[in-house]
């Protein structure tokens, strides 16, 4: 057995792997009523640096270590129980005991939960009939190791260099214009190594690198003001921030260029007139950056099967695509025939992975094909309810939290049109550029999303810039009215998406091409 390191590094996973595998494999023998157990371990080595108005504010270099356990158990009924804990260096000498204690808690909760399930099922007869055994759809058991990809290893980046870099960027932003009253620039670079083991024999050792940079600016002119924030990022090393990334579908600027561009936009917008809301639908052309958030909100979230099965009713909401098991939109038209949309964890960026947090290989899930709704992202439990194969869409933000159905990289598929032509054909309309802030109806049936910039289009030419603009529409109506899809498909990072209780904020990927449809314009109230 490898020697257990004295510090928390990603190498720790190798050292404890056999212990964790054995503990999980033995759970059904150790605990009489245990039907299934899985155990997740996660170690992250992470560095942060932040600056404001050209001066350094904070930095950190640390490791996180945590475990999460699920047990399905019971006699007469099967129910789940969970346990999670943040761990530290001091836990290493007694790690096996700590994990065993966690398994015991999860098992105990599952058994008690199963007993209550039987009691309530019997008590309520008709209403109790829905209380069912927890089943997991079967998956092939995998044992695999996945390495992180990077050019500059986040673990080797000098923290002082990070501090110096973000401070220089912040200073450059400040120098863009004296009307910039505030700016904050930050960067994070990390490597995470995850271990998933199950009583079925799975053992997946999966590593990711991730680097992201964010900028926030406030510009104030004599006539108006503008706040803007945005992020760059990829599952790669420190080079993401200092050099940028150019790949087939990704054009990630370096943080300096990205931040100063954002600052220039904020200044321009602070001088621009406010957009007037329209009282009816107008022609809108939305760019790939805006459509990344649109895909996130109106495609990704309503196609998460746990929402569709009402499991997020109290929190992140349901889905208009499923009312009951025998009343869904599967096979029905939900969009123009020009629209296809899918989720694919093999796409590069924040949403990339090979296996999800149940050990299921992630695969492409088509949601809309030529306007027809095709299906949902799922986990093993929700797949069993719908009697469909699991598609590997179950992720937790940190190991001590319970995995949920999560979009990987959800996108509108590319069309065939040149974006310039899509604009040129419009006599009167609006070009909506860059996403800003979303507000979506509970079952994702309506949305209002603000844009960074809105331009008027007259006779096929882009004209006046407006601030405070965005669009609002019913989801199905917007999708049905799409009459052009661009070929300029791009992917973008979404730095924070909340779901679950307690809320888990997760990084995801989204994207799409230029799209033309109709929607209400929204401006300042």
């Amino acid at each position: 057995m490898p020697t257990i390191p004295k510090v928390i590094t990603t190498d720790l996973v190798e050292a404890i792997k056999n212990t964790v595998v054995e503990l999980t494999a033995e759970a059904p023998d150790t605990y009489k009523l245990c039907r299934y157990a899985d155990l997740r371990i996660e170690v992250t080595e992470e560095k942060h640096a932040g600056s404001e108005n050209g001066t350094s504010k904070y930095a950190s270099e640390d490791s996180q270590f945590a475990c999460g356990i699920r047990v399905l158990a019971g006699d007469g009924a099967i129910a789940p129980g969970y346990f999670g804990q943040v761990l530290g260096k001091a836990d290493l000498p007694r790690l096996a005991q700590t994990l065993a204690s966690g398994l015991q808690h999860a098992y105990q909760r599952a058994v008690l939960n199963a007993r209550e399930k039987i009691r309530i099922r019997d008590k309520y007869k008709d209403l109790g009939a829905a209380l069912s055994d927890t089943r997991l759809a079967s998956v092939e058991v995998h044992r695999d190791t996945v390495k992180a990809e990077y050019a500059i290893d986040p673990r080797r980046v000098c923290l002082d260099d990070m501090v110096r870099y973000v401070t220089e960027v912040s200073r450059a932003v400040q120098d863009v214009d004296e009307q910039l009253k505030y700016n904050a620039v930050s960067a994070v670079t990390l490597v995470t190594r995850e271990l998933f083991t199950s009583s079925e024999g799975a053992c997946i050792d999966q590593s990711f690198a991730l680097t992201t940079g964010t900028a926030y600016v406030v510009a104030v002119s004599e006539t108006g003001d503008q706040e803007l924030s945005d992020a760059i990022g990829h599952q790669r090393g420190w080079e993401v921030v200092t050099e940028g990334v150019v790949e087939e579908h990704i054009r990630n600027l370096d943080l300096l260029t990205f931040s100063t561009n954002l600052a220039r936009d904020a200044v321009k917008l602070a001088h621009a007139p406010p957009l007037r809301s329209s009282d009816k639908d107008v022609v809108v052309i939305t760019d790939p950056h805006f459509n990344a958030l649109l895909a996130h909100e109106i495609i990704g979230h309503p196609t998460e099967l746990d929402r569709a099965l009402k499991m997020e009713t109290a929190y992140a909401g349901r889905s208009w695509l499923l009312r009951a098991l025998n009343d869904t939109m599967v096979g029905k038209a939900v969009a123009s025939p020009l629209v296809s949309a899918y989720s694919d964890p093999s796409l590069p960026g924040f949403g990339h992975y090979k296996y999800d947090h149940e050990g299921t290989p992630g695969r492409k899930v088509v949601h809309i094909e030529k306007g027809l709704f095709k299906g949902f992202m799922n986990n093993r439990q929700t797949a069993a309810i719908l009697n469909v194969p699991p598609n590997g869409s179950c992720m937790a933000t940190e190991a001590h939290l319970v995995p949920l159905v999560r979009m990987s990289t959800t996108v509108f598929a590319a069309g065939a049109r040149a974006p310039e032509d899509i604009i040129r054909e419009v006599d009167k309309g609006y070009y909506v550029v860059g996403h800003r802030i979303p507000s979506i109806a509970e079952s994702r049936e309506n949305f209002r999303i603000s844009a960074q910039k809105v331009y008027e289009i007259r006779n096929g030419q882009i004209g006046q810039l407006y601030r405070g603009g965005g669009i609002m529409a019913d989801t199905k109506t917007f999708l049905m009215k799409v009459d052009a899809m661009g070929r300029d498909f791009r992917l973008f990072p979404i730095p924070n998406c909340g779901k679950g209780q307690p809320m888990q904020g997760r990084r995801l990927g989204n994207g799409g091409p230029t799209i033309r449809s109709r929607a209400h314009l929204t401006g300042p109230a």
Partner: protein, 518 residues
């Protein structure tokens, strides 16, 4: 949970060690143990389900060291932390991390210094909650669910529908939500403070949404308690009753309506728009909706808002801040006038020295020191826990909203005899940035038409969007009830004791018409 005595001992030993380090100008050790236990409920009468979906817990303990290091170029400040190790080795490891990550921050003056105010709140937590067993957690979840099922099972109106139509369970009853118990213990010692201090708090909250989905009827129930014994599952029963009351919902047309906002919408507006604009930090970075308006009228003169973290028996109370300073009352808006801001020690110091502070606040900071007292420096994680691995930031505790006159809901219904009662909204965001005050949200349940001074037809869930501006809402207040209710929204740390508020005009837009044909 780690005992308070152990946390205190770690802080004392750690502080002694830190005082001996030659390159340290000043230092602070923050030790914490946190646990969150949640029984998440998911019942769907028409879809196979678990009832109690996730009986779970997550916990952590550890320490953080904030230190100021001497440097020829000027002092450098750093924060380091160590999870799971409360020994002196843990302190040493955290100190090394702080040293490695220290930066020169020109806005830093000192670590928090003693306040002239005194701590007033001690021993206010529920000891029984600290010893919650697995069985207690599981049973708490099932108790909430069974109270909801009892309401559905006995509902005569539904039984009548079920006789001629679908079976009762095919009506699509949904009960979702959770019972969450938050346990927090902390100790803090600093070279700037006279002694090591400790604090421990518990919060028991239940938040439940129920639906009769076939009828598009949604209801909410919630309860927040400081004592475990008070958690009897009432939130489940309330949610189910409200869902049943919402059967037969109607749509409304676009327009400006006189409205009464219930406690949940008031809390949404507070937590997502108003409170984030009432921090010194948001004035410093120019993002506040009230930028430059300290001392000025920002709302109808009926409105008073204050934060009070030191009230016994209130759910957001804490004995001390995560900076080791006493909690207390901070008046924010008094009779419509902006009179104070929430702050931490760092933010107050920074604003006092900012050359643009007069422009940002609207008055010179030296003219209003009472408006910037740092009573709200916390290391909250968003939804519970006092984290040892992060620096303090500004967070509210218990937020109170009051009117000058003692009004009842009936009084408000007289003031808004025809309009809309809005009981629950969702996804309330400052759609064009906090500073503009523009916001949008959708109405998702617990809402009714008001006709001739009475609540009449329920409004269907998810058919109305609000598009308005918070400044207009604050100016158009026409009445505030004296009765309020402790309310927490998803992922918030503060508890808003929210009344019902009548507003003369609110812009509502009808949405999702396609769903009726769907």
């Amino acid at each position: 949970m780690v005992s308070l005595a152990t946390l205190k001992r770690t802080a004392e030993e750690g502080l002694r060690y830190l005082r001996r380090q030659k390159d340290i100008q000043e230092a602070e050790v923050f030790v914490a143990s946190n646990a969150g236990l949640t029984a998440r409920v998911n019942y769907t009468s028409h879809i196979p389900c678990n009832g109690v979906e996730e009986p779970k817990s997550t916990s952590s303990h550890g320490l953080g060291v904030r230190a100021v290091f001497q440097d020829p170029k000027g002092p450098r400040t750093g924060l380091g932390s160590e999870a799971g190790d409360l020994s002196l080795n843990g302190v040493k490891a955290a100190l090394e991390k702080a040293r490695r990550s220290a930066v020169q921050d020109p806005d830093f003056t000192t670590l928090p210094c003693p306040s002239p105010e005194r701590r007033t709140l001690t021993k206010y937590h529920d000891p029984s909650a600290m010893d919650l067993k697995d069985a207690d957690l599981v049973h708490a979840g099932w108790r909430v669910l069974t109270r909801a099922l009892d309401e559905f099972a006995k509902a005569g109106s539904l039984r009548a529908l079920a006789k001629t139509g679908p079976k009762l369970r095919e009506m699509g009853f949904i009960v979702g939500g959770d019972v969450t118990v938050l346990l927090e213990r902390m100790a803090i010692g600093s070279t700037r403070l006279p002694k090591v201090q400790t604090d421990e708090s518990t919060l028991i909250a239940s938040f439940v949404t129920a639906m009769v989905e076939r009828e598009g009827a949604k209801g909410t129930g919630y309860g927040c308690h400081t004592r475990l014994s008070a958690m009897r599952g009432d939130a489940g029963a309330e949610a189910a009753r409200n869902a049943l009351s919402a059967v037969g919902g109607v749509r409304i047309k676009d327009g400006e309506y006189a409205v009464i906002l219930g406690p949940q919408p008031v809390t949404e507006l507070m937590s997502n728009l108003i409170l984030p604009s009432l921090t010194v930090a948001s004035f410093y970075d120019c993002s506040s909706a009230f930028h430059g308006q300290l001392g000025r009228q920002v709302a109808h003169d009926d409105l008073t808002i204050y934060d009070h973290g030191a009230l016994p028996g209130h759910m957001g109370s804490k004995g001390i801040t995560c900076e080791g300073l006493p909690t207390g009352r901070t008046d924010l808006i008094k009779n419509g006038k902006l009179v104070g801001l929430l702050s931490s020690f760092y933010e107050t110091e920074r604003m006092m020295r900012d050359h643009a502070s007069k422009e940002k606040l609207g008055v010179p900071p030296e003219d209003c020191p009472e408006a910037l007292v740092p009573r709200n420096g916390f290391r909250f994680a968003g939804g519970g826990g006092r984290r040892f691995d992060m620096a303090p930031s500004v967070a509210p505790t218990n937020v109170f909203i009051e009117g000058r006159e003692k009004k009842t809901r009936e009084d408000l219904l007289q003031q808004v005899p025809n309009g809309v009662y809005i009981g629950r909204i969702w996804y309330t965001y400052p759609i064009n940035g906090l500073r503009t005050g523009d916001f949008t949200a959708t109405v998702v349940g617990d809402s009714y038409m008001i006709k001739d001074g009475k609540l009449t037809a329920p409004i269907k869930a998810n058919v109305v969007r609000i598009n308005d501006n918070i400044h207009q809402v604050l100016r158009n207040i026409v009445g505030i009830t004296s009765k309020s209710r402790g309310t927490i929204i998803w992922a918030a740390d503060e508890v808003v004791y929210a009344p019902e508020i009548a507003v003369a005009r609110l812009r509502l837009t009808e949405i999702a018409g396609f769903m009726d044909a769907h």
